[in-house]
Assembly symmetry: C2
Homo-oligomer: 338 residues x 2
């Protein structure tokens, strides 16, 4: 990282809370000498994990007290009511107040959505935040959005997702003209629903994207597009299905390998490879997902993230800060209105 930045971390979020977030914070501070982290939550609960930290790191770790915690299964409406003094609410407020450049949380996605929207507000020209994540492909990875923030999207929302995804890919991956594909069904009876057909027309007409048209489910992983656009219902199910399949493959490989002594031996030899692969193919667990469309950077780590995965989410937040993704999205939107 060139220069300095400050990130606010919701220490209480996720299935493991401070047990994962605090060590991941310490490691990130070791990785990035210019980084400062405001660690938000019940300070008493995370001090046990702050032993034996070098002074140079400890100096850049700023605990911030917040009494409230939003449970993983708490309803968004409830989270919104009690949001103010929760670890998540305070972390987001630090971003809104300019005291941090990004917020990272492994907490409740619904709460993150509604609080993020209220505290940080939407970018001008964007109606709804979208969840985006890097998904592995045969060519490397692509960015897919929305992954579950919006279950009923109209064509205009899909256009906004396309713009945001394209800008993010340009910024973070330095791809000059990211190929944007719209997820649809192929050769079947009626090609796509009305909303997708209309969105395709809107994206074509918009003209400022490298729009490659419709892509199908299998094209996501073949690497046909750099940005895959879909509504949150479809995106969430496609992503979770793909995680399910990669787990199925691992299980089936185990069974197939296990059938004879020779195969069991092969399986034993191949074990590290399979583990490596399983990790690569579980994007939600491995990488953070970003909330795009807000006036600020918010990265969501998987609820079950371990220390390494929470660390990847911090890395992602830093990359977005460095490339100033929200400002770039705003500029793109402003340019297209001008």
């Amino acid at each position: 990282m060139s220069g300095f930045c400050t990130i606010a971390i919701d220490a209480m979020g996720g299935d493991f809370g401070p047990r994962v977030t605090v060590p991941a914070t310490v490691e990130a501070l070791e990785r990035y000498p210019g980084l400062t982290i405001k660690l938000v939550g019940q300070i008493d609960s995370f001090t046990p994990f702050l032993h034996n930290i070098p002074a140079s790191v400890r100096a850049r770790l700023q605990p911030v007290q917040a009494d409230g915690v939003i449970a993983m299964d708490e309803k968004p409406s409830h989270a919104l009511r009690k949001g103010q003094n929760t670890s998540l609410g305070v972390a987001l407020q630090l971003v809104a107040d300019g005291q941090a450049s990004a917020c990272v949380s492994a907490g409740n996605t619904g709460a993150l959505m509604v609080l993020g929207r209220r505290v940080l507000r939407m970018l001008e020209g964007i109606d709804r935040p979208a969840i985006v994540s890097a998904v592995p492909t045969q060519a490397g990875h692509c960015y897919m959005l929305d992954l579950g923030a919006n279950v009923d999207c109209c064509a205009e929302h899909l256009l906004q997702f396309a713009i945001m995804g394209s800008v993010m890919t340009q910024a973070v991956d330095a791809v000059a003209a990211p190929r944007v594909g719209l997820l649809n069904i192929g050769q079947e009876a009626i090609k796509g629903n009305e909303q997708v057909k209309l969105a395709s027309m809107l994206i074509s007409t918009y003209g400022r994207l490298n729009y490659i048209g419709y892509i199908e489910g299998d094209d996501i992983f073949a690497g046909k597009a750099d940005v895959v656009v879909c509504d949150g219902f479809v995106g969430n199910i496609a992503l979770k299905s793909s995680e399910g399949v990669s787990r199925l493959v691992t299980q089936r490989l185990g069974v197939a390998f296990g059938r004879t002594f020779y195969r069991r031996m092969l399986a034993w030899l191949a074990r590290p490879l399979l583990r490596e692969l399983g990790q690569q193919l579980d994007p939600a667990r491995r990488n953070g997902a970003s909330l795009l469309g807000l006036q600020g950077i918010v990265v969501k780590s998987h609820g079950g993230a371990d220390r390494a995965c929470f660390g990847y989410a911090i890395d992602e937040a830093i990359a977005e800060v460095r490339m100033d993704v929200p400002r770039r999205i705003s500029e793109q939107l402003a340019a297209s209105l001008a």
Copy 2:
């Protein structure tokens, strides 16, 4: 198979036409001594593939001339206009006339949908046909529908899919009370769209199904349900995504294996296992998909199906004939109205 049955096969359908359909037909006749196949198409084009067939098989293979062929990329509306004297149209008509108990085609899905609906008509109480296929799971397989016949479904359609899928699983797999799950998104902001919430209420209220509620994308492959219900847009994308991932896994395994000499050797040893696995995980290519909801049995083989896969589609048709799936669906619907 107990007893005798007659199947009509669209010899011209699929990417390879008679080159695949005729040898698959001959092999099926060898497998099932009580089977008769009416092979529909341009007889001249498939006679070259009828060499050296035992007389006992040849006697049960009845060529039926049809001049027209529906192209793989032909629009459904166009197929409907020219349908009458095409190989697909004639094969379906044989079922409608009671001269065959099922129709198998590897042709254009859209054409199969619209012609099937016109020639065979819908079952009383079912509004739209649905495409169903067996999908591999950690526990074996489940049936998933709809896989692309209907892009905009209402809650009532999803209830009908649930009923049809449950009856099919009872009949073909002999599962007494198949667990029916409704595909939805999980912990995210807003749980599911309106149509899915309403469908869940309808299925619960219907009361005659073993309804287990919502399941998520990864649950499909974990084997949580015997029947997975979703609209055709979502189902198609989930299925194609999962095919894409299984191809990605194979490719990544190759790369991971190939990195060192030791790993290359391992890869070479593991090759047959990986091929076996790849086949298992490509349900659309491997198994046929059935069109449920028509007054007749229609099985769609993958357009790119090879001889073995087209043979699986014939097997599926025979299983459905044996269990009289459409009659069972009618009875279930009649019972629930009584």
